[in-house]
Symmetry: C2
DNA sequence: TCCAACATGTCAGTGACTGACATCGAACGT
DNA sequence: ACGTTCGATGTCAGTCACTGACATGTTGGA
């Protein structure tokens, strides 16, 4: 318990996922996670605001990817197209890690508290998307509507992507779902 | 402390809203709420699953209203129209209690945890809406998309309704927002 | 070599929430 | 009137998430 192990954070995340899978989220204490990761409970809470956060480490990156993609979208794109480009870019970060996404999704779906936290993260993605649209000069309300729509598409496409046995690429799922939305 | 006071639940809700307004959610303990309501902490947690729930008592009624309205919508209505009829009906429950809605909204917006819980309630509204649409024979994915869209409209319209000084009726706000959505 | 920043450990404390058990008043049948 | 049963509540002890304050050890320069 002394040298600076370089990946304490990563170890905690893995320890948490393993323990949640073994005993379930509720029957895993923060101390359990910390111990398996070789750190103290206090250290755990220095890295993660609360026990749930350990499962949502990459969410910030999704927002970042969406934001930059939206700002980089051609000026000719309308709000919805730009927003969709954003969530497609976000999806790109998951594209080659489906196994991990599936496992993680099982854990989240199994616990109401984790689902609640996931909604918060999706809302953060909505906010980042809307903010990027506004930067492009889109009206506030339109930006909010487009952002919500795009993230909804992302959400439904993601659910299909992790549920089917041999699904198409996430980007394709998003495109399919987006097409349905436009037909509403 | 003995007779069966008929409205212990209502007293706790009011006590909680008052205390949250006075000291803020974080600086109000469950014991504080219980004491002001004249009950025990244990009784508080028998009525509400957790401290946050005390602010979301009517949410079930919204889902119920939306569901019945959707099932009662004319058969000629498309999925989106039916879903919108649902959230308009849900909004009808709030129409004549704007003051209360505004106060409550201030409390919720002031606390991340409460916002998180609100997202869960909105998702419950989405689920109820989608379920009602499916009962009408709407395809699963279409139902989900329409439900998400309608609740998004509800959400944005509600925000405007509680933010403006002398806003139109909530139903009108919803109609306005819905028009913008269709124009996307 | 000394210092400063940083990641961590230690410890004590608050408060949310739960399970088990006791009580008490009201409704009900006799 | 009386005993019973049931539902709402009180009591108590306990677990666990999370926090603040302080001490320690390690690292990378000035």
């Amino acid at each position: 318990m002394s040298r600076w192990e370089p990946d304490a954070r990563g170890r905690m995340i893995r320890a948490a996922m393993d323990l949640f899978a073994e005993r379930g989220f509720d029957h895993t204490t923060a101390v359990d996670i910390a111990e398996r990761a070789g750190v103290t409970e206090r250290t755990f809470f220095r890295h993660f605001a609360d026990k749930r956060e350990v499962l949502f480490d990459g969410s910030q990156a999704l927002e970042q990817a969406a934001s930059t993609a939206i700002l980089a979208a051609p000026a000719s794109s309308g709000p919805l197209d730009a927003a969709l480009a954003g969530v497609i870019a976000a999806g790109g970060l998951l594209e080659d890690r489906r196994e991990h996404a599936v496992r993680r999704n099982l854990l989240v779906e199994a616990n109401p508290g984790l689902r609640e936290r996931e909604l918060l993260k999706l809302t953060a993605l909505v906010d980042a998307t809307a903010e990027a649209l506004r930067t492009r000069g889109v009206d506030d309300l339109i930006a909010a509507l487009a952002a919500h729509s795009a993230v909804t598409v992302f959400q439904l496409a993601f659910t299909r992507w992790v549920s089917e046995e041999r699904p198409p690429a996430l980007a394709a799922c998003i495109a399919d779902t987006a097409a349905l939305l436009r037909a509403l």
